[in-house]
């Protein structure tokens, strides 16, 4: 039976894992390679490394970090942040990533999805969508809007439509972050996640708002998510992938328990 995936996300800045609220007040949370290996050992099904600085000068540092992190990692490894061209993606794959996640660059030029998919396969392209419900709309969920610049600027696209276009262009997965829920620890946006998951045939990874085990149970059930991203709850050993999965299994969610 296919299991629900728990994905550990590492926000990286200048070669270190960092933790903060809305990308300010960053606290050092360790070495990416060490953290990734620990999460994999504790049962994370996948690792996402997100370069939150993504500056041109930082590319060499990022590639070095990807290389070091990939070296001992034998679970799927996705890298995002600042991937603007198929060449950028190629360098990240060469350094050891299995997938890349693209966000604003794909909105600016959607053919980026086609280009990476053609060279590396659909399974290697994750389209990340930062979403906010539209409180003015008659249906705030169906009409939820795509945002860029860390959720500050509307991209002028509807979330469900953009997810469908991404799939049609050859995206392998959608990483959906609810900017309304992000950082709240009050739960995922299950309605929005379900709306996107029902609109596409590719897997949807839910992100934003994880605080308790029940939130994960909810997003896998009501939210119809195929996978869920857990970022801050994994740092500093607050909750390990192992303990999260043991509790999910007790709640009847099908998960891969670490050996």
């Amino acid at each position: 039976m296919i299991t629900k995936r728990i994905i550990a996300c590492l926000d990286v800045h200048g070669g270190r894992v960092v933790k903060g609220v809305q990308f300010v007040d960053l606290i050092d949370a360790g070495d990416p390679a060490t953290q990734a290996a620990r999460h994999a050992r504790e049962g994370a099904d996948e690792i996402v490394l997100l370069d939150i600085t993504a500056t041109h000068e930082g590319r060499a540092t990022l590639l070095d970090t990807v290389r070091r992190t990939a070296r001992w990692l034998f679970v799927p490894f996705c890298v995002g942040g600042g991937i603007r061209s198929a060449d950028d993606a190629a360098q990240v794959f060469e350094a050891g990533a299995d997938k890349v996640s693209v966000n604003s660059a794909a909105l600016a030029d959607p053919t980026l999805i086609d280009a990476i998919g053609r060279s590396f396969g659909a399974q290697a392209v994750v389209v990340a969508i930062d979403a906010r419900r539209d409180p003015q709309a008659t249906n705030p969920v169906r009409d939820a809007q795509v945002f860029v610049q860390g959720g500050r600027k509307p991209a002028g696209r509807r979330v469900v439509e953009w997810a469908r276009e991404a799939e049609a262009r050859g995206a392998g997965e959608i990483l959906l972050t609810s900017m309304d829920s992000d950082g709240t620890r009050a739960g995922f946006d299950c309605e929005l996640t379900a709306a996107v998951s029902e609109a596409v045939s590719i897997p949807v990874i839910a992100s934003g708002g994880a605080g308790t085990v029940d939130h994960f149970v909810d997003v896998f059930g009501r939210g119809k998510a195929d996978a869920a991203l857990a970022a801050s709850i994994f740092h500093f050993g607050v909750s390990s992938a192992r303990s999260l999965k043991e509790e999910l299994a007790r709640a009847g969610v099908s998960v891969r328990l670490p050996c």
Binding site: T3, R5, A40, D45, F74, D98, S201
Partner: protein
């Protein structure tokens, strides 16, 4: 040990090479140097993406060289599309033949309730006597990402259920294939690759 890894420009080989090196093998890559196939101790054909990409194997002469190597008894492992290539063909690219080492054809998962592609960690029901999957216990999982799959037959080494049962591993003589990605399947995947690397390879298909 030298392992010849076939590059037919379908995706990225880094993960496969890294896993083989981690297990002490010395992989060499060829995208057309037939000597590396003719002198291969073992062959791995990875592959993600579209079945049509295997046409490059025909164009470069690698198909013939690999057939000959298989006939000599060189242990062969196909991964994902590399496994599907061992069959007569796939409905993903109807005009592109596989090598028909297994006579059936691969087909897309039927549309319905579940999502296609099948992406994520799923379990294996290992058939007794599998050399490739020796030591894989019930409750161990491996990582899949695919939309096309091989049917369950007498040569099936493991069955996985998604929408319907399919062959997640196949074995006949010195020829083995896995639909999942052992290089991305944690300690279970490494165990399977180690089984391939340590198999003595005396049986010829």
């Amino acid at each position: 040990m030298h392992v010849t890894v076939i590059d037919y420009k379908a995706g990225n080989l880094t993960s496969v090479l890294k896993a083989l090196r981690h297990l002490g093998a010395e992989p060499v890559v060829t995208d057309g140097d037939l000597d590396l196939v003719e002198n291969a101790e073992r062959i791995v054909l990875p592959g993600v993406g579209h079945f049509q990409a295997t046409e490059r194997l025909d164009a470069t002469g690698l198909t013939q060289a690999i057939r000959a190597a298989i006939a000599r008894g060189v242990p062969f492992l196909g991964i994902c599309v590399g496994m599907q290539w061992l069959y007569a063909g796939s409905s993903e690219a109807r005009k592109q033949p596989g090598i028909a080492h297994f006579t059936e054809r691969c087909a897309r998962f039927p549309e319905g309730q579940e999502k296609v592609p099948h992406v994520g960690w799923n379990s294996l029901e290992v058939r007794t006597g599998s050399r490739l999957l020796a030591g894989v216990e019930p409750g161990e999982f491996v990582y899949f990402t695919h939309s096309f799959k091989a049917p369950v037959t007498a040569h099936t080494a493991a069955i996985t259920e998604y929408i319907e049962p399919f062959s997640s591993a196949v074995e006949r003589g010195n020829v083995m294939g896995v639909q999942f990605h052992p290089e991305k399947s944690g300690t279970t995947g490494l165990k399977i690759l180690r089984n391939f690397l340590s198999w003595e390879g005396k049986e010829i298909a």
